[in-house]
Symmetry: C2
Subunit: 361 residues, 2 copies
């Protein structure tokens, strides 16, 4: 097991990465104000891992209230959240009950927002079971649900007390979800760490083949990069926006197709290609670097073009993206592989040309 | 105008108290990251004060998105909150848009929770128009909505950037709401300031007669007391619980009758009589002090007994109160007028006897 620490002062916490962590209730028990947790999980993950975690907790004297959610991004909404509140109230969970998210990004985001707002905030632990959640959504304290008019529009910053990323859980992950997680791994290299990007080019086949050591390294390096950025800027007023590379386009794809049509990582992959193309058109990135990014994503089996929504529909969708400032759209551009930058504004013609070049006809 | 400062470091803020403050956009404009606000108000308050505030803001170059909510505690729920999110998204409000709550406690609690969670948090200003909101709910950063299974069960701590308590708005307040506000004023004297309690006994008639100077003094002293307690304990892990004197019983009354049947202040008044009676039965408070509290509340036209729910129903209702710890019910008791204390546990027989003595048959 390796541990990365997120440096946020009194809100700092450890991210443990390794195999067999679902059995390690000893990592959780000392963090709990009360020997009771509510484990929020999904219909897919519950049969795979809930009993194992609950048994380990019981062995440490911790009681477990299971709350099983329907699967998928379409359920990351108020109705599902309200079901969690109802279950917590019916079981008389109080401010000392810790919420444990066992699952992917949807479970983590929703359970985290429940933890942020149930009785004005209860302790929270993340046990991410997808690669995407391990390298991205479980780190940094962002929690949210979707609104019909926009993704993640309702949420809070609420840091977990700990994250347990168990490599064992990746064995049951559908291949498409593994690839979607790799999109965010590749993003971390692209925005912040050129040697890691090189490593990914060299080790992509091992990652796709579920090589444990390769996966653990990819998770650890991703988490280190993300944790470092988050520590600089917990509330996303500045550099944290770099982590949104590919996301302004990606969110437009997700909203335009309806949440859940594409996996988040798939939309981000196409969005990164678009953002790189925009960087090339604005003269900040060399074409060869954009091509390397596209090829790596393609090798990972990820989409490298957006769906054919038409440029104007993309622009409409991006204007309500929450990363917009005072009505302006903000973009993350690349200067080179390993170095990203926040652009305050972007000429509309370059944006339209990019959308035309990088989305289906 | 007088100003009380809430000492919470970088989250500290001023509470301005006086007449004509709705016209003082100069107090707000410097706090806004962007010259646009969304004013959340109620169907009752909008026709009285919305235009006046919007005109003042327009004079300072600040645009105003009005959002008018249906009236009453029954609407402090997810459906209403979601309407606020929808309006903000339709008007493309972003993270720099400040939410202004213009109204009573329901508007302030709901708008504050909207500000805490819209796009993971936007700036917030309180313009409370009821005595209750001025002396209580607008101070301290507690925001919430109700759940069918419990009052204020879903919420967040989100401090405003400023509070404007305009005495002018109390002129249009229904008398029952003035009295309900006085319940919390009396609470502040009872838990923390015996000379203020004496002053309230001497000046109750002036307050009921809407004497401006008396009201401004009562608001200022209440706010000072509450701000001092909040500064000690922003997240309610310790002494802030003292402010819940009368509220464990009061919340049970509100939940038992259905939200909105009694005003919050009315429920708290009866709850304080119950908490004082419990203090007498446990031997910590003299009977004469409990009688003084009861008489002052009675003179203010407030209920001094709970509805006839039956002791067991009260106990059921109190066990899901969010002030409970690990399934235990926590009570605020008085040692004398001006001095309150948190009781970790209370004998069930004294509690049942109190409920029988202090609620209708």
């Amino acid at each position: 097991m390796q541990t990365v620490r997120v440096a946020l002062g009194e809100r700092g916490y450890p991210i443990h990465i390794g195999a067999g962590l679902l059995d390690r209730a000893d990592l959780l028990a000392p963090l709990l104000p009360q020997p009771r947790v509510a484990v929020v999980t999904s219909a897919t993950v519950a049969p795979l891992y809930l009993d194992r975690l609950a048994r380990a907790l019981a062995g440490a004297g911790v009681a477990c209230v299971p709350i099983v959610l329907p699967d998928g991004e379409a359920h990351k909404d108020w109705a599902t959240l309200n079901g969690v509140f109802g279950a917590l109230l019916e079981r008389r969970c109080d401010r000392g009950t810790t919420l444990v998210a066992l699952g992917g990004g949807v479970v983590g985001d929703l359970a985290g927002f429940a933890a942020a707002t149930y009785q004005r905030g209860v302790p929270f632990v993340q046990v991410p079971t997808t690669l995407l959640a391990q390298v991205d959504s479980s780190v940094g304290g962002k929690t949210a649900i979707n609104h019909p008019l926009g993704k993640n529009m309702i949420g809070a910053f609420h840091q977990p007390r700990a994250v347990l990323a168990d490599m064992d859980t990746l064995a049951t992950l559908p291949p498409a979800e593994l690839r979607a997680g790799l999109a965010e791994v590749i993003k971390h290299g692209a925005i912040r760490d050129a040697p890691f990007f090189d490593w990914l080019e060299a080790n992509l086949d091992a990652l796709l083949g579920l090589d444990r050591n390769a996966l653990a390294h990819a998770v650890k390096r991703s988490v280190e990069i993300k944790a470092a950025v988050v520590a600089l800027d917990e509330r996303e007023t500045g550099p944290r926006a770099l982590l949104n590379f590919g996301h302004t386009f990606g969110h437009a794809i997700e909203a335009g197709l309806g949440y859940g049509a594409w996996l988040h990582g798939e939309a981000v992959a196409a969005g990164m290609v678009m953002a790189a193309e925009l960087s090339v058109r604005l003269g900040t990135l060399e074409r060869t670097a954009a091509d390397r990014l596209r090829r790596l994503l393609e090798r990972a089996g990820l989409p490298v073009a957006g769906p054919a929504l038409g440029p104007e529909r993309y622009l409409d969708l991006m204007a309500v993206d929450k990363k917009a400032e005072a009505g302006r759209i903000r973009f993350i551009l690349l200067d080179r592989l390993g170095e990203a930058r926040i652009a305050g504004s972007v000429p509309a013609d370059a944006l339209r040309a990019t959308l035309t070049a990088c989305s289906g006809k």
